[in-house]
């Protein structure tokens, strides 16, 4: 792998440009779906059907004055947005959106991605903590409380398919349902874990009904209350990319992700589409189909998240802790047991 190729990987695809572009598209989609659910139209006049709206927002924020409160810790205040963006961005590089394997994939990259996806929450907590305003502090403590609520169910839910596939590598988990013919039905088996993962992801993204740390009517802007200008822009971009990475991760581990490429002919299937075309397509066409398949699955996950956001009221911090330990965690344990049982019987 030469240096130019690596640079291309990091900067263009599946790196920075692709991640930013696709995640702003997802934000637009999210806003549109949300607006349509509320009988509104959402952004309309920024580009085609307002598709450039998130980009306009970010460009505008980048061009604005950047205020740092006098009481805040200057360095930490500036460092947190960059840290969280770097973390999600790196996590995105491990996703197999490029090829059957991402260019830097290795056995155990699932753990790394999960770990990297936790960093934004900590960064957000510290960002709120260092900006020293009552709302930021309150928001920051809520970020952390919420983290303890959703993180364990999320891990457990994501580990279920890993155990099923017998691997800690995202790409192997992703191709597992397609590698052995007739095994696509492991997807419905993981339904409970999928639901738990979606809910936990929503909590990770801090969106309704789990937008407790940023509850506008309670703590104003939460940890981001004091942020403005460029730093806010970075946080927004980070949130978008987090949504993309999270949704793509769920799409990979639960929905078969990229699917298997026609490698030598017998492992021929690419996601759901692959079941139909996989046997006949190879090379570039198969690759494109795989990419489209994965992106469609990611979009589907985001669509689910948007619907969930539109259909619920915000719950309280004590309610989310109770909810995730009383329901989400036992559900994921139950799912885990089902999978173990199936494995023990040799069914999969």
């Amino acid at each position: 792998m030469n240096a130019l190729k690596v640079a291309l990987y990091i900067l263009v695809y599946p790196g920075f440009l692709f991640q930013s572009g696709f995640s702003t598209f997802l934000e637009w989609l999210d806003r549109k779906v949300y607006a349509r659910m509320q009988n509104r139209r959402g952004p309309m006049y920024t580009g085609w059907a307002g598709i450039l709206q998130p980009i306009a927002d970010i460009v505008k924020l980048l061009s604005k004055e950047d205020i740092v409160p006098a009481a805040a810790d200057q360095r930490a205040f500036a460092f947190m947005p960059i840290l969280s963006l770097a973390a999600v961005f790196t996590a995105g590089l491990y996703l197999p959106v490029w090829h059957l394997r991402s260019f830097n994939s290795f056995e155990g990259d699932l753990i790394v991605v999960l770990y990297l996806l936790t960093i934004p929450s900590f960064a957000l907590f510290l960002a709120g903590w260092f900006s020293v305003s009552p709302y930021s502090l309150l928001g920051a403590t809520r970020v952390l409380t919420q983290l303890f609520a959703y993180e364990v169910p999320f891990f457990m839910a994501v580990l279920t398919p890993a155990v099923l596939a017998g691997s800690w590598q995202i790409s192997k988990i992703a191709i597992f349902p397609w590698t052995v013919a007739g095994h696509w039905w492991v997807i419905p088996i993981e339904l409970i874990a999928f639901v738990v993962a979606i809910l936990a992801l929503q909590a990770k993204l801090e969106r309704v009904p789990f937008d407790i740390p940023e509850a506008e009517t309670e703590v104003v802007g939460g940890p981001l209350t004091e942020y403005s200008g460029k730093k806010l822009a970075i946080f927004r971009l980070q949130k978008d990319i987090l949504m993309y990475v999270g949704a793509a991760l769920v799409a990979c581990v639960f929905l078969g992700g990229f699917g298997a490429l026609p490698q030598g002919g017998d492992q021929a299937s690419i996601g759901v589409l692959g079941l139909v075309f996989g046997g006949y397509l190879g090379g570039v066409a198969g690759l494109l189909l795989g990419v489209v398949g994965l992106l469609l699955k990611t979009t589907l996950v985001v669509f689910l998240l948007s619907t969930l956001r539109a259909a619920c009221a915000r719950i309280r911090i004590d309610q989310i802790v109770r909810f995730s330990w009383r329901y989400l965690a036992p559900w994921s344990v139950a799912q885990f047991l089902i999978v173990l049982l199936l494995k023990a019987k040799g069914a999969v």
Binding site: T46, Q53, A56, V59, E226
Partner: protein, 139 residues
Amino acid sequence: MFKKLIKWARTKSPWVLHFNSGACNACDIEILAALMPHYDLERFGVQLKATPRHADVLLCSGPVTKQIAPRLKRIYEQMPEPKAVVAVGACACSGGAFRGCYNVLEGVDQIIPVAAYIPGCPIKPEALIDGVAKLLGKA
């Protein structure tokens, strides 16, 4: 080119902060009504923000009572540049029906610079949309 891009972004994404400086609620509700499905200001990229740090446009209604005036100034100072203030309703423009009251400072422009005035008691949502559009057209 770069300037053009920034200008485009600014006109396409005005985030507003609503501040009530002693208004009678009528204008405030109409501002909210403008964000609702019937008028849907989000079509133009307008979003209502909670904190002055995130906002570009301050929609200010009410004749500015004495007690709120320092607060209004502080909110304005907390907003990052570039920023604009829109006086919403007759009260915010000039004091309106409460002109001459002792506790009232007669208009937002007594405290902070105002970029656009939207008259009406109360304003209609259409007037608000028109006012914001004109403000952005000038920017």
